[in-house]
């Protein structure tokens, strides 16, 4: 199946005022399949937004490439199927919310009535009549979501969609994500709200300093097996081939499992591959714990 979004080795560097170089995104690779919600977690400045913008070719990567439905991101057929809700207010201040939505409806070739129905659906009828200059952060966020949803996108990229929203708005975004997934759309979600990410995402990318530290499978029940190997070096290529979902960190091989019952078959498979196992641990991988462990470096 062609991924809705595929990033291959995306790298973006910036020159700093002191003449140095800042690597905002470093060889980032991942894919989002149709019907999947993938979260991106990382501290401020980790490169999450830059990664999204690189995927959409709003920024030009120094190296690497991205594909939307197997097509170049600049391909108009690909763009017709994409919705993007950025994290900051990006609307002309002199236009009303409804005018903005009508412009985007015209650009997409969808009836303007669709804009009106979305406004109603998102509880945005009164502010839509006002100029966007008068909007609060939450109202801008809702307008951003509405314009992203206008074309019934098959791929949705959301950058901090719940920032500035009230609890009802957060719940609405959650419902919206579930609705998108139910109709087979793919979603890439940048968020700081770990609880929300854990509730709606199928997989989570942990990003720090522009690099993907780990891909965590939330559907695996949030547990992982950690296997200490005596011959980790010799095993690395075989593990990468046979168990690509896992990651080798020093002499520790970590892989998401559905629960403790999945560990004995895993051990058997590892032994069959030639692994010399020193220790096996199964632990709950609450997202927050994982986040602190991976991103903040806490034990």
């Amino acid at each position: 199946m062609t991924p809705a979004l595929e990033a291959r080795g995306l790298t973006k560097r910036y020159r700093t005022p002191g003449g140095g170089e800042l690597v905002a995104v470093d060889a980032l690779s991942f894919a989002v399949q149709p019907g999947e919600i993938v979260g991106v977690l990382g501290p401020n400045g980790a490169g999450k937004t830059t990664a999204l913008q690189l995927c959409l070719r709003l920024l030009h990567p120094d190296t690497g490439d991205s594909r939307l439905f197997g097509l170049d991101p600049e391909d108009l057929a690909a763009r017709r199927r994409v919705g993007y809700a950025p994290d900051a207010a990006l609307f002309p201040k002199a236009l009303t919310g409804m005018r903005v939505l009508e412009l985007h409806a015209d650009l997409l070739g969808v009836p303007r009535a669709k804009a009106a129905s979305l406004v109603e659906q998102l509880g945005f009828v009164e502010p839509a009549k006002r100029q966007t200059a008068t909007y609060s952060r939450g109202q801008l966020q809702r307008l951003g979501l509405a314009q992203a949803l206008l074309g019934d996108p098959d791929l949705m990229l959301l950058d901090e969609p719940t920032a500035g929203l009230d609890p009802a708005g957060v719940a609405q975004v959650r419902e919206l994500l579930v609705g998108l997934k139910a109709r087979g759309a793919a979603v890439l979600l940048n968020s700081h709200l770990l609880s929300e990410v854990e509730r709606v995402c199928d997989r989570v990318l942990f990003v720090k300093n522009g690099r993907c530290l780990r891909v965590h499978d939330v559907r695996a029940g949030g547990q992982r097996a950690e296997v200490r190997l005596a011959n980790a070096m010799q095993m690395s290529v075989r593990l990468q081939e046979k168990l690509p979902a896992g990651a080798l960190d020093g002499d520790h091989f970590q892989i998401a499992v559905s629960g403790p019952e999945a560990v004995p078959p895993l051990v058997r498979e590892l032994v069959d591959l030639g692994a010399e196992i020193l220790e096996v641990r199964v632990g709950g991988a609450e997202l927050e714990e994982l986040y602190l462990q991976l991103v903040e470096g806490r034990a």
Partner: protein
């Protein structure tokens, strides 16, 4: 064909943003007043584009072209618009065409008021010359507008207008001052040649050629048309290279 060069939804939004701006309406009113006050029995409709009028007309071009592309990129809205199924060429075309239309409408209003004032004050005849004034006055202004778009494809904010003003003033000073400062170098012929190719050229004298049955020299029209389309193409090519998102702090 036209839809490949210009996005109409973008054009409509630009018309609301630039065409109905108080500054645009204000300068258009000034052009109408200039035409009305300066139009007399022996004038032929160029009053809104010559002398004091030329300053206001160029100011309108500067306002319409200032930040024409950069404003949308810097506000971030271009990110969202250009994620829609339109090309960058269509987006640039949509914005430039509307700025050009607004300039034509405002210039047309100034010309019409001048012609009406002339007829009301007893002016008559010379219809061909009067009719020619409008396109001949608009042509170089449209060339400057396209130049602003080309500069604005890679500069920030209203830097394009500032740069254009600085270059034009710099050139005027150089063209006037250098032959005086260095008379022995015989720079005047060289400056004349450069001047004939320095941006779009004033084509209004062609109307006079028609009016007074002089020899008609249309080369300026071809030069201005070539400049206009070259600047448009350059603006699209340069804008294709521009990143739409900004580096975050």
């Amino acid at each position: 064909m036209i839809a490949d060069l210009c996005s109409w939804p973008v054009a409509r939004a630009t018309a609301r943003e630039r065409g109905l701006a108080p500054v645009t309406l204000g300068i258009a009113l000034v052009l109408v007043l200039i035409g009305m006050l300066r139009g007399s029995a022996d004038t032929w409709g160029a009053e809104a584009f010559s002398g004091f009028g030329s300053f206001w007309f160029f100011l309108l071009a500067l306002f319409l072209g200032g930040g024409l592309l950069a404003d949308e990129v810097e506000s971030g809205h271009a990110q969202l618009v250009l994620l829609r199924p339109i090309t960058r060429a269509q987006w640039v075309g949509g914005r430039l065409v509307v700025a050009a239309l607004v300039l034509c409408i405002a210039g047309g209003a100034g010309w019409a008021s001048s012609v009406v004032a002339s007829f009301m004050r007893g002016g008559a005849g010379e219809l061909a010359g009067r009719l020619l004034v409008l396109p001949l006055a608009l042509l170089p202004a449209l060339g400057w507008l396209a130049t602003l778009a080309a500069i604005g494809a890679f500069t920030r904010g209203w830097t394009n207008s500032g740069l254009l003003v600085a270059v034009r003033i710099g050139w005027a000073l150089a063209a006037f001052g250098l032959p005086l400062a260095f008379p022995k170098l015989g720079l005047q012929p060289l400056i004349d040649v450069i001047g004939r190719h320095f941006g779009p050229q004033d084509a209004l004298m062609l109307a006079r050629q028609v009016q007074y049955h002089e020899r008609f020299e249309p080369s300026v029209i071809f030069w201005d048309l070539a400049w206009l389309f070259a600047a448009w193409v350059v603006s699209v090519r340069l804008f294709n290279l521009r990143e739409l998102a900004r580096r975050r702090a």
